[in-house]
Structure formats: structure tokens, C-alpha cells
């Protein structure tokens, strides 16, 4: 095999997700009454980036062969915290942002501690911590409200030079500052190894607990970036139970569309970002196709079903039935 083939094989999931997204986005913008304009892209980007953060957060945990059903609640909780703290002078705002991120990291650390050191199954552990996070969010914000530094918010949700959505730039920066270093670090590799074959990794002397713990903490951090950005986008905080759960489920869908294996050890946060953008575009398609209002949820459901079934096409190429069970 040529070198580039190995690269393509490694990136297959990501490339596929990227392809799906580009196709869907092309369909969307070419049918949009306003067309492919900076405003339309900005709107789509803002909405997509939010989910992209949560999906990245989910990815980190999924890579370790875990799942985080509390990720949406961390997102909601940090949104509520941000709506209380990220205001005032630039200094206060900066400290507020720091506090929000710390809250996210702490939530992730709590999950990690319970799963890794408490040895509980991630699914149930995070169902439970999700309830706790939501409860705290509700304490902070019994009703929707609060505020945020609007100048900063407008900058980050607006356009740079009137063209490039600032949200995409922000996302890129976070990817470069958080994901890439993690991916290329020993701990990052450890997280993959633990997700792929924990016992083997342990026997090989990989620091799997530390690696998984780091993954959970960074997951909390990324979810907090999501919560922060939600606050910039909405100017407020809200302890919304339904949307917390919705983001959790969306993030799982995004991660899968993004080529991240739910069995752990395979996939990348970049893929999950494209998965998130593609998932969001499913919703946007409602806007350009003239569907009866009552048919819209069904339409979204069917597209989602098709998108997640795409991976199944590979199945027909399988010629050894034992490969079903990998």
C-alpha cells in the first residue's frame, strides 16, 4: 500500500462525514431563497458550531469506549453559569469565562472519577450525574435570564471582515488548542488504546486511567465551550431539561455520522465536527423544502435514519460473516 492510502484509510470516517456535509449543505444553499450568502453561512455556522462543541466533547468520551449521557447537561449548566458570570468589564468577563471552563472541567472530572475510579458503567453513571448537573443549573437559573457581555457575544457570533463567520474561526482555534495537542499526546493515544483494547493497553503499560481521566476532563471543557457559545448566541442562560437531553442525543448522532466508532478506539473529533454540521443541515433542509408543518418531524427522522444507515452499506461488501461481529 502506498503511504497516502494509509492516510485515507485512517481518515475514512472523517472524509465521509465531510462529504455528506458538503453534499447536504450544497443542496441547502442552492435551494435557499437568499442563496449562498455570508448571512446564510453565518446563521448555519453559529448553529452548527454549538453542536460541534458538544459533539467533540462526546467524541472524547466515546473514544475511550464510554458514552456521556450528561454532556448536554454540562452544556446547559455551563450556559447557566456563563449567563451569571460572563459580564462586565473585559477583566470580569475574562474571569467569568475562566470560571465557566473550570466548571466544565470539574463536571468532566466528576464523570471521569466515577467511571474510572468508581468503576461504574458510563451509561448509568452519566445518566445520574446529568440529573445532578441539571439540578445545579436549575438552582442557578430557576427561570431563563441573566446576561452576557454583548460586545464579545456579537463579535464571536458575527462575521470577520464581513465574510468569515467568527464562530468557525473560534471552533478552529479550539480544535488547534485542545483537540490536536490531545490527539498527538501520549495521553491521547492512551485514550484511544484504552477504548480499543483496555486490557491489552494496560498490559502494555499504557497509563489508561490517566488517559481516560484526561479525556473526560477535556470533554467537560469542550462541553463548557459549547455552553459558553450558547450564551453568546442567546445572551442568556436557561436550565432547559429538554434541550439538555436533546443535545446529548444529537451529539451521539453527530459522532456516529462523523465516523467515530461507538465501540471506542476509532474516529476523530474533526469527523464529529462534520457530523454535527451535517446533522444540523438536516434541520435546515426543512427550511428550503416546502413541507407541511406536521410532516417536518417525520422528514427529519427519516433523513436521520438514512444518514445513520449509510455506514451499513459497507456491510454488503463483507464477505466473511464473522466480520459482522467485530
Amino acid at each position: 500500500m502506498k503511504e497516502w492510502r494509509y492516510w485515507v484509510a485512517e481518515q475514512r470516517g472523517t472524509l465521509l462525514a465531510c462529504g455528506i456535509f458538503l453534499l447536504m449543505f450544497a443542496i441547502y444553499t442552492s435551494n435557499h431563497p437568499a442563496g449562498f450568502t455570508a448571512n446564510v453561512v453565518e446563521t448555519a455556522a453559529n448553529k452548527g458550531v454549538l453542536l460541534a462543541f458538544v459533539a467533540m466533547a462526546q467524541t472524547l468520551v466515546v473514544i475511550t469506549a464510554g458514552i456521556d449521557l450528561s454532556v448536554g447537561m454540562i452544556f446547559v449548566l455551563t450556559n447557566c453559569v456563563a449567563s451569571a458570570l460572563v459580564v462586565g468589564t473585559p477583566m470580569q468577563t475574562a474571569l467569568g469565562i475562566l470560571a465557566v471552563l473550570v466548571v466544565g472541567v470539574l463536571c468532566g472530572a466528576l464523570n471521569g472519577a466515577i467511571v474510572i475510579y468508581g468503576r461504574l458503567q458510563p451509561i448509568v453513571a452519566t445518566i445520574a450525574t446529568g440529573a445532578v448537573f441539571f439540578g445545579i443549573a436549575l438552582l442557578i437559573r430557576p427561570f431563563p435570564g441573566g446576561s452576557v457581555n454583548e460586545d464579545l457575544a456579537d463579535t464571536l457570533t458575527g462575521k470577520i471582515f464581513g465574510v468569515v463567520p467568527a464562530s468557525l474561526v473560534l471552533l478552529l482555534v479550539i480544535v488547534l488548542l485542545v483537540w490536536v495537542p490531545f490527539r498527538r499526546s501520549v495521553l491521547g493515544r492512551g485514550a484511544y488504546a484504552a477504548g480499543s483494547a483496555e486490557a491489552a493497553a494496560y498490559m502494555s503499560g499504557v497509563p489508561i486511567r490517566r488517559a481516560k481521566f484526561a479525556a473526560y476532563m477535556l470533554s467537560g471543557l469542550l462541553a463548557a465551550f459549547g455552553g459558553l457559545f450558547l450564551t453568546f448566541f442567546t445572551y442568556t442562560g436557561e436550565a432547559a431539561y429538554a434541550s439538555g437531553n436533546a443535545y446529548t442525543l444529537f451529539s451521539i448522532a453527530a459522532v456516529v455520522i462523523g465516523g467515530v466508532s461507538l465501540y471506542g478506539g476509532r474516529g476523530s473529533a474533526i469527523g464529529a465536527i462534520f457530523g454535527a454540521l451535517a446533522f444540523r443541515t438536516i434541520g435546515d433542509l426543512l427550511f428550503v423544502f416546502d413541507l407541511g408543518a406536521l410532516w417536518q418531524p417525520l422528514f427529519q427522522g427519516v433523513i436521520l435514519l438514512v444518514a445513520v444507515s449509510l455506514g451499513a452499506f459497507g456491510l454488503f461488501r463483507i464477505r466473511n460473516r464473522l466480520e459482522w461481529f467485530l
Binding site: I67, L69, I114, G118, R119, L120, Q121, I123, V124, A125, I127, A128, T129, G130, A131, V132, F133, F134, G135, I136, L138, L139, P142, A199, Y202, L249, I252, A253, V256, L262, Y263, A293, L294, W295, Q296, P297, L298, F299, Q300, G301, V302, L304, L305, V308, S309, G311, A312, L315, R321, L322, W324, F325
Partner: protein
């Protein structure tokens, strides 16, 4: 050590006792502790009326969790439970609009709809090898779409039939709600299925290692398909009961059952990775969750506190007995 053929008879304990692990016992102990704590707040928590009422409410979750347990034993999960419940309820009520025949067939029809949803899940998981977490998420969205279209598109009949009401709220044995009897029957059937039938063995086998089960000549895909269909049917049955209980079907009725049904199964000691768990544990888990929710609700705890305590109690109980073994 010599050949141990003679040991055979010792294995003749009833299945549920043989499998009764410390987790199940601890779960039941937790129930007692919860009741005790509740009784400190109000003596009424120990009254027979309250306990029967709890059992009745628990039986809806119980029926739903039964199906969930089946797929969890396979190492899978069913996230389509919320709208499967709703679809079961709505379709049962819808059938009642079609004269006496419709009324008579309402319950089976509702359950059948759940089975169909389960079949779609099962095909996705077993034949298309899509991770269950994701295919069931998608079918949930599709069923939601169908129900929204149904509710808005044709004048819906959403009143439960008298039979549904009777099954959910009547009592054929004095003092014992029918719903509890229904759950008991479902539970007995499930215990029998899991411990005495070949199908039950293959469920555990597949949950442990599907590859080995397949190479043993088991049609594992069919078993997975059937398990999902049963899970769908049981969720829909839960919906039918709920509709009977509330005497009507409503869109959001399934939302409150997804996470509790998973939590109940796991609190009962069933491994979320599949292959290990007993029905008795699920019973304990269901009662635990139901009691916990009820006690927090009645204690006038504000929602925020209720969520926090709910989460902490679940983690605490799991730390008590739900930990995976240490690797060293």
C-alpha cells in the same frame, strides 16, 4: 480435582436463586432503607395504600424495563422507547375508533405497533449491524414524526377503551391492582424465558459473545431481531397500560420512561455490556426508581434538589454494589 459429573445436581436450584447475586440483595436492601427514610418524613409511606399505589405505578415502568432488560442483556440498548410507548398508546386508542372490533383489538393492535417498531430496530441492529444506540435514536425520531402527523392529520381518537382502563386500574383480586398482576405475569414469563428456554440461553450467550454464539450454529440475528421486537412490544404494552391509567394517550407520555428504564435495569445488577443479569434485579431496580421519584416528589423538595438527590442516590447505590471488578 476429578471429573465433576457428580456435581451436576447441585445446579438444580431454581434459576433465579442460582443467579441471585449480591447486587440483587443489596438492591432490595436499598428499597427497605428508602422506605425507612421515607417513613421518617411521614408514616404514610408505610401504609398499604401507598405501597400498593407505588407497586401499581411501578408496574408500568416494570413492563417497559422488562423489554429494555432483554436488549441490555444482548449488550444493546433501545432509545426508541419513549415514542414506542406513545405509539402503542395512541394506536391502541386509535383502534378503538373502529367499532366493537376495533375496541376489542385495541390492546393487541397497540402492542403490534410496538412490535413493528422493534422489528425495524432489530433489522437495523441485527442485519444492518448499525449500533443500537444510533438506530433506535433514529427510529424514535421517525415514530415521533409519524405520531405528529397522525395527531394533526386525522381527527385522533385518544380515549382508552374500558378494557384498557380495567387492565391498568381495575382490580380483579381484591386490593391488588390489575396492573401489578399484569406486571407479575410479564415478569414470570420473562423469568421463565430467561432461565428455562433455549431462547433465554442464547440471549445470554449472544450478550457474552455473539461471534461464539453464531459459530455454535445459533441464528443470532434472528434472536436479536426477536429481542428487539419483544422490547418494542413491551414498551408499547407499557404505553397501552399508561393510556389505560390516564384513560387517554398523549404525545409526551413516553418521555419520562427512557432514562428510568435504563437506570432500573442497571440498578438491578444487569450489566450494560450484556450477558449478565437477573430479572429479580430488574424488579428491584424498578421499585427503587419508582419509590425514589415518589418520595422526592411528595417531600416537597424543589425540582432542583430533587434532581440532585436523584442523581446522587443512583451513583451511591451503584458504588455500593454496581462496580465492575477491579482489573488487578
Amino acid at each position: 480435582m476429578s471429573d465433576m459429573a457428580s456435581h451436576g445436581r447441585a445446579g438444580y436450584l431454581p434459576g433465579f436463586l442460582r443467579r441471585a447475586d449480591p447486587a440483587v440483595l443489596t438492591a432490595f436492601a436499598c428499597i427497605v432503607v428508602l422506605l425507612f427514610l421515607g417513613s421518617l418524613y411521614s408514616r404514610n409511606f408505610l401504609s398499604p395504600e401507598y405501597l400498593l399505589q407505588q407497586l401499581k405505578v411501578a408496574s408500568f415502568l416494570g413492563v417497559i424495563a422488562t423489554g429494555m432488560m432483554l436488549v441490555v442483556l444482548l449488550g444493546q440498548i433501545d432509545l426508541s422507547v419513549p415514542w414506542t410507548i406513545t405509539a402503542g398508546a395512541m394506536m391502541a386508542c386509535a383502534a378503538a375508533a373502529y367499532g366493537p372490533v376495533g375496541t376489542a383489538l385495541a390492546m393487541p393492535f397497540g402492542i403490534l405497533c410496538g412490535v413493528l417498531i422493534g422489528l425495524v430496530n432489530g433489522i437495523g441492529v441485527a442485519y444492518l449491524r448499525i449500533p443500537s444506540m444510533i438506530i433506535t435514536l433514529a427510529t424514535n425520531a421517525v415514530v415521533q414524526g409519524l405520531m405528529v402527523v397522525y395527531t394533526g392529520g386525522s381527527s385522533p381518537q385518544d380515549t382508552a377503551t374500558p378494557a384498557m382502563r380495567y387492565v391498568a386500574t381495575g382490580s380483579i383480586l381484591p386490593g391488588v391492582p390489575n396492573a401489578v398482576i399484569v406486571w407479575a405475569l410479564v415478569g414470570i414469563a420473562m423469568v421463565f424465558l430467561l432461565t428455562r428456554t433455549g431462547f433465554g440461553r442464547t440471549i445470554y450467550g449472544i450478550g457474552n459473545r455473539e461471534r461464539a454464539a453464531y459459530l455454535s450454529g445459533i441464528n443470532t440475528r434472528r434472536v436479536v431481531l426477536i429481542a428487539f421486537a419483544m422490547c418494542g412490544g413491551l414498551a408499547a404494552f407499557g404505553g397501552v397500560l399508561l393510556a389505560g391509567y390516564a384513560s387517554k394517550a398523549a404525545q409526551s407520555m413516553g418521555d419520562a420512561y427512557l432514562l428510568p428504564s435504563i437506570a432500573a435495569v442497571v440498578l438491578g445488577g444487569t450489566s450494560i455490556l450484556g450477558g449478565r443479569g437477573s430479572y429479580l434485579g430488574t424488579v428491584a431496580g424498578v421499585i427503587l426508581i419508582t419509590l425514589l421519584q415518589s418520595i422526592l416528589s411528595v417531600m416537597q423538595m424543589p425540582e432542583a434538589g430533587r434532581q440532585i438527590i436523584y442523581g446522587i442516590v443512583i451513583v451511591a447505590m451503584l458504588l455500593l454494589y454496581g462496580r465492575t471488578p477491579a482489573s488487578r
